[in-house]
């Protein structure tokens, strides 16, 4: 089936089998391996991407179901000259990653959350990030980094204006 979607601002049309999940489509058809795949049945959150503004598990969505959608992956977070986004900077400052396996999913979850709820409380951040398993860093630095990055998502801030969904 032909699937047309827009990933990080670039449109593409690709022929895929219906059984292809969105994460396999991103990794294998588009060669964008930044999105990781862990459990392949919805429990770990490593595969989180943003579809039409909402964080979703891309192993639980078919590529054909994303036909016509606008998708943002980890590759779209830093700008074209690879300057880290304020959220990524905050992760760096707080040592909010170790092996990095869970990190793309954690960042996309946090990005979607802060775009929709720039004033999310620590409690809310903890609740949301509970859907992303991290086996090495520990959640304290992750929560601290997301909490600190809130300021760059305030409506008037340059970070939110420059980076679309």
């Amino acid at each position: 089936m032909l699937v047309t979607l827009c990933v990080n601002g670039e449109d593409s049309t690709t022929d895929v089998l219906p059984r292809t999940t969105l994460v396999d489509f991103l990794r294998h058809s588009l060669g964008m391996t930044g999105t990781h795949v862990g459990c392949e049945h919805g429990v770990c959150g490593a595969c989180t991407v943003i579809v039409d503004g909402d964080a979703v598990r891309s192993c639980l969505m078919l590529a054909v179901q994303a036909n016509g959608a606008e998708i943002m992956t980890i590759e779209g977070l830093a700008d074209a000259s690879a300057n880290l986004s304020p959220l990524q900077e905050a992760f760096h400052r707080h040592h909010a990653l170790q092996c990095g396996f869970c990190t793309p999913g954690v960042l996309m979850t946090a990005h979607a959350l802060l775009r929709q709820e720039p004033n999310a409380s620590k409690e809310r951040i903890r609740e949301v990030i509970s859907g992303n398993l991290c086996r090495c860093t520990g959640y304290m630095p992750i929560v601290d980094a997301i909490f600190e990055a809130r300021s760059s998502y305030q409506p008037a801030s340059p970070a939110t204006r420059a980076r679309g969904r």
Partner: protein, 288 residues
Amino acid sequence: MKLPKFDYVEPTTALEAVTLLSQSRGLAKVIAGGQSLIPTMALRLAQPALLIDLRHLESLRGIAVDEAGLRLGAMTRWREIQDSAEVLDTHPLLVEAVRHIAHYQIRNRGTVGGSLAHADPAAELPCIAVTCGASIRVLGILGEREILADEFFLGPLATALGDDEIILEVRFPRWPSSRQWGFQEFSRRQGDFALAGVAIFYDTDNSGRLENAHVGVFGVGQCATRLSGVESALNGRTNTISVAAEVARLAAAEVTPSDDLHASARYRRALVAVLLERAMALARGERA
């Protein structure tokens, strides 16, 4: 695991969807949010030859409140319930239960109709539907019918839905604003399916005595059920600490859990007692 092979169609009307379903003679499945079906397929517990995606069926969307109560279209996502000020006003118990369902990303995709059709014994919505006396409107090749939640859930992953039928919407009776309620569940990790859960509500007469008590449990049997023994023990009494302790014991005796991988039956009975006592405290107004 990778998904097994299947064909995929995107009908644009509900009638087209049920026609496709009935033509498939049991080989097709409809897909809504995919948050239960795709894992099931990944684990090869289901291998439908055809997936019928409901995502273009506008008639299955939407939240509506009227004199009769609250209606949720089958394709309503958890997220939309959480974002709706109207639902919070008209059905606080439902909103509290939805808050406990799965994780942020899953709530952006998972739907009301999918949860009812999947009929997991530990799922929140089937319990709220049974406890509140909701009814489920379905469409099949022979037309529409309405099924009471009580008669809809037949056992683990089993419902009264015919092979050619899809859920259109679920209707909750009107919820008086003075109604008192409590919801409690226990799971080992945030977002996991509950090991046990309790939903209660009641109205009170002029002297503060309980009437119309409804007590539902989930995760502790073949499907969510009401505890009629506990309900009749509550009606006509007042919600005091000692009454709560008394009905908690009754509830532990009335439920019929079994041992499984996640917990023993004995542990689940104990959980039900504790959760009911806490839900009674919440209904009394002791909100943490």
